[in-house]
């Protein structure tokens, strides 16, 4: 345990209320302090907020090796209320938001699967999506039902115990959509009785959680100009927050909030300020109109200050700064927005005037330590940033991979770019490469080990730039990049960073770089996948692999954990399928 620990392992074990659906009872492992067993709680029928009585059956399974407590949860809630999302720590059997909770930690308090028994994990089911290409989805699980997405505007609900489909939805796609980097989707949000997701043709769609029927469908932007959605939305209060993709097409980025009931747009924050707005003067001439700064990865939320933290992507064109002189706000930034209004409270720009395609679209994780409210982001530009989330002031920035673009810092401690890092016509080598030290793959913060685990790669690229006119709906890079001429291969890692110091405490070297995200659990485990198709359970301290399973397809997604009927599962997408693993 390090100083950067906010979680002592204790949890409120009060049974959750339920709804009107036929209830099934669940007994769920909750983490405790290591080595401390806790008694299973007796169930009590409880009233849900609407007064509906629950009929619950007590099912308490004997856990092995039972270094965990069992409580009874009355389950099968019909409605996923915003109150439940706020109190997600009370129901660790459910994974209700993209990153598992509002803080973005991607940490599961379940500990039935742990470092002692992980070697006996086995596949419980596989669901083939029939989609082609890579799967980037993180499934959500609410009350025994798993919700996920796949290529080409697919969304589906599965029995989380068996993998059997309950409903499958697929939206017909126009033939001329222009997704930049695969016809991917990273997942859904759930609120009330609806499932929400964004489509490749830039619609936001609400589906009925029980049937997959379309409840509402709104058009956020014109897909023909390169707008698309690939991000998993975030449900906050009664709003569905979602950010646009299209930085490769010169869209003007934005983050939207839609009323979950009606689909009415409640606010929009343009990530590129218009005339008269603060930050507009960070763009040359009319370059702001095609400035990019998309918002294609899911943000986090701090209920205490009612702030949404949402990261933004590269300015457009991505690899050519000529024509957009200035810092290019709010590209490659972390934005703190008022959840109700979308008003900007503060911003922090990681890479100013970026010419290397270093989107800052990494998950910003809320960490409380030593009385400080922090937010940590392992950025694509190769530095690990810790920021005061109340003020937006930088606390530290430490390189966590191979970087050559900066050798100095400004007075705030922010790394600043070398002049010679700029791309040239002939091209020259800069580290990290265009794919970054990390990318969209979600990291995890484990409050038990106090470490921040992130997928990283040491790769350099040759960056070349050339003038390119903007044409609506056409790729707008102003550039090309290539693998560097170095004869040595480049490597990928799972790295464990101490947020207090930025020090890399441990690392595991993959055979080749992976696009897998990372999950940590109270079982003393870290899970991740690799490009060769393995799903791996690591010891959270040593990062030694304790178990692996060959899934037969490369991993581009992040794992999550859930429990049904007292049995813990870990799930991940690989190839074109979803896999769930559990103990025998």
């Amino acid at each position: 345990m390090t100083a950067m620990t906010e979680w002592n392992g204790r949890h409120d074990t009060k049974p959750r209320s339920g709804g009107r659906m036929q209830p099934t009872a669940q007994a769920v492992g909750i983490s405790t302090q290591k080595g401390q067993a806790r008694q299973g709680r007796k169930k009590n029928p409880v009233q849900d907020p609407s007064g509906a009585a629950l009929r619950s059956t007590k099912i308490i399974r004997a856990f092995r090796p039972c270094v965990l407590a069992c409580i009874l949860l009355t389950a099968a809630h019909a409605q996923l209320t915003s109150d439940r999302l706020l109190n997600s720590a009370k129901e660790p059997q459910n994974w209700m938001t993209y990153s598992g909770d509002y803080s973005g930690k991607r940490f599961s308090a379940l500990d039935q699967i742990n470092a002692q028994n992980a070697h006996s994990l086995s596949a419980k089911w596989v669901y083939q999506t029939a989609a082609t290409g890579k799967l980037e989805t993180t499934p959500l699980v609410v009350d025994g039902i798993l919700y996920a997405t796949a290529q080409d505007n697919r969304a589906f609900a599965l029995d989380a115990r068996s993998g059997r489909p309950i409903w499958i939805y697929q939206r017909q796609i126009p033939g001329d959509i222009r997704p930049c980097c695969g016809r991917v989707n990273r997942g859904v949000a759930i609120l009330g009785d609806k499932v929400f997701f964004g489509t490749l043709d830039a619609h936001v769609i609400a589906l009925d959680a029980k049937t997959g029927a379309v409840r509402w469908d709104v058009t956020a932007a014109d897909y023909r100009t390169g707008h698309s959605f690939t991000v998993a939305p975030l449900a906050v209060k009664n709003l569905i927050i979602i950010g646009i993709s299209g930085g490769e097409y010169g869209v003007r980025g934005f983050i939207d909030a839609y009323d979950a009931d009606s689909g009415e747009r409640k606010w929009r924050f343009y990530t590129v300020p218009g005339p008269g707005e603060p930050g507009h003067d960070s763009w040359e001439g009319d370059s702001w109109k095609v400035g990019g700064a998309p918002a294609w990865n899911t943000g986090t939320y701090d209920p205490a200050t009612n702030q949404i933290f949402w990261p933004t992507g590269n300015p457009a064109p991505s690899n050519r700064g000529e024509g957009r002189v200035g810092d290019n706000l709010y590209s490659n930034s972390l934005l703190a927005l008022n959840a109700d209004t979308g008003k900007l409270n503060w911003y922090f720009q990681f890479t100013k005037h970026d010419e290397h395609d270093w989107d800052a679209t990494q998950i910003p994780i809320l960490i409380d330590a030593n009385g400080k409210k922090l937010i940590a982001q392992a950025d694509r530009n190769g530095y690990f940033y810790v920021i005061d989330r109340t003020t937006g002031k930088l606390i530290s920035a430490t390189a966590y991979g191979k970087t050559t673009w900066s050798d100095s810092k400004d007075t705030d401690g922010r790394p600043i770019a070398n002049k010679n890092a700029e791309p040239t016509l002939a091209g020259h080598t800069v580290c990290p490469g265009a794919l970054g030290t990390t990318n969209f793959m979600p990291p995890t913060y484990d409050p038990q080990s106090g470490l921040f685990y992130v997928t990283a790669r040491d790769q350099c690229d040759i960056f070349s730039t050339a003038p390119q006119p903007y044409e609506p709906g056409h790729a707008f890079y102003g550039s090309a990049y290539f693998p560097s001429e170095e004869a040595e291969p480049y490597f990928g890692f799972l790295k464990a960073i101490d947020p207090a110091t930025g020090e890399i405490k441990q690392k595991f070297q993959h055979t080749s770089p992976t696009w897998s995200g990372v999950l940590s659990t109270a079982g003393g485990l870290v899970f991740s996948g690799d490009a060769e198709g393995n799903f791996i359970a690591f010891d959270a301290t040593s990062l030694k692999p304790l178990w692996h399973f060959q899934m037969g397809g490369a991993v581009y997604a992040a794992p999550m954990a859930y429990a049904v009927d007292g049995k813990e599962y870990v799930a991940i997408a690989a190839g074109s399928a979803i896999y769930a693993f559990g103990l025998p």
């Binding site: 980097c181 790729a475 890079y477 490009a531 060959q550």
Partner: protein
């Protein structure tokens, strides 16, 4: 509309479609070539190099003779659909850059045509003599296969003349270890053979030396010099070491003269242009 006029209309429509597929509507248009250059840099240059002159993974496209494409229509099909069994992906599926419209593909073809050097790729050597050397004194065929004949330890070279520049082939003969790492990106999962040299010692002390056919964090698949395949689990091994020193001997000029190398390259390029 009468049946006759419907038929006439259909024939006209099909003719129009066939024309659209057979001919580049933007052929020789300098403006299209310029637009194609932008698209090429974004979508193609990662493998085919700046100026289409070939990179570590993709062939030199400035060569007039290409293995998979002859007409512009062939090229359109290859860009749209990829080449099965190779690293050439279908349009929009390579994860780098974006999918292209038909117009953008024609622009790229116009650009590639504008870059072609009609005489390039013609090796100066004698292909017949090269073939003799390949299968004879050069000992190339002990480890390399061409058209189904030869050894298995090294890469099959049947297609190398169509997918590598002349300079790259010469360099591979003179300095086989220098670019062993070609293609080690995510796309390299389509190149399972990286030809790293592996030395493994099994639990019972047996040493196995060979090249990797494939590898992940837990297993490795090796071919030894006797062309035996060994399937190994890394945690069962006493030791496991990889080297980027190729098992292929370095062919210095005193072993193969520049003329002889030219002949071998001419032979390989003559195969690649088939």
């Amino acid at each position: 509309m009468s049946r006759q006029s419907w038929v006439v209309g259909f024939v006209l429509l099909m003719t129009a479609i066939c024309v659209a597929e057979d001919q580049n509507p933007l052929a020789n248009d300098p403006k299209a070539a310029k637009a194609g250059e932008y698209e090429f840099r974004i979508n193609c240059a990662l493998c085919h190099g700046l100026g289409a002159r070939g990179g570590g993974r993709g062939p030199d496209l400035t060569r007039a003779q290409k293995k998979h494409t002859h007409s512009d229509a062939d090229m359109f099909q290859v860009i749209s659909n990829g080449i099965p069994g190779t690293a050439m992906p279908a349009n929009g599926t390579n994860g780098q850059g974006v999918g292209m419209t038909d117009t953008e593909i024609w622009q790229i073809i116009t650009y590639i045509r504008s870059q072609e050097v009609k005489s390039s790729g013609k090796a100066t050597g004698d292909p017949a003599r090269g073939k003799q050397l390949f299968f004879g004194d050069g000992n190339c065929s002990l480890c390399h296969m061409v058209d189904g004949k030869g050894g298995r330890l090294g890469p099959d070279l049947t297609g190398v003349g169509g997918s590598r520049t002349r300079e790259a082939i010469v360099d591979s003969i003179r300095n086989p270890s220098r670019r062993l790492a070609w293609g080690l990106t995510e796309g390299s999962k389509e190149f399972p053979q990286e030809y790293e040299t592996v030395t493994a010692v099994t639990a019972d002390g047996k040493q196995i030396k060979g090249v990797t056919l494939n590898e992940d964090s837990f297993t490795v698949q090796i071919m030894d010099a006797g062309e035996h395949i060994h399937l190994l689990e890394k945690d069962q091994l006493k030791s496991f070491q990889k080297s980027r020193e190729s098992m292929m001997p370095k062919y210095d000029p005193d072993v193969l003269s520049d003329k002889e190398v030219d002949d071998i390259v001419a032979f390989l390029i003559s195969l690649g242009a088939k």
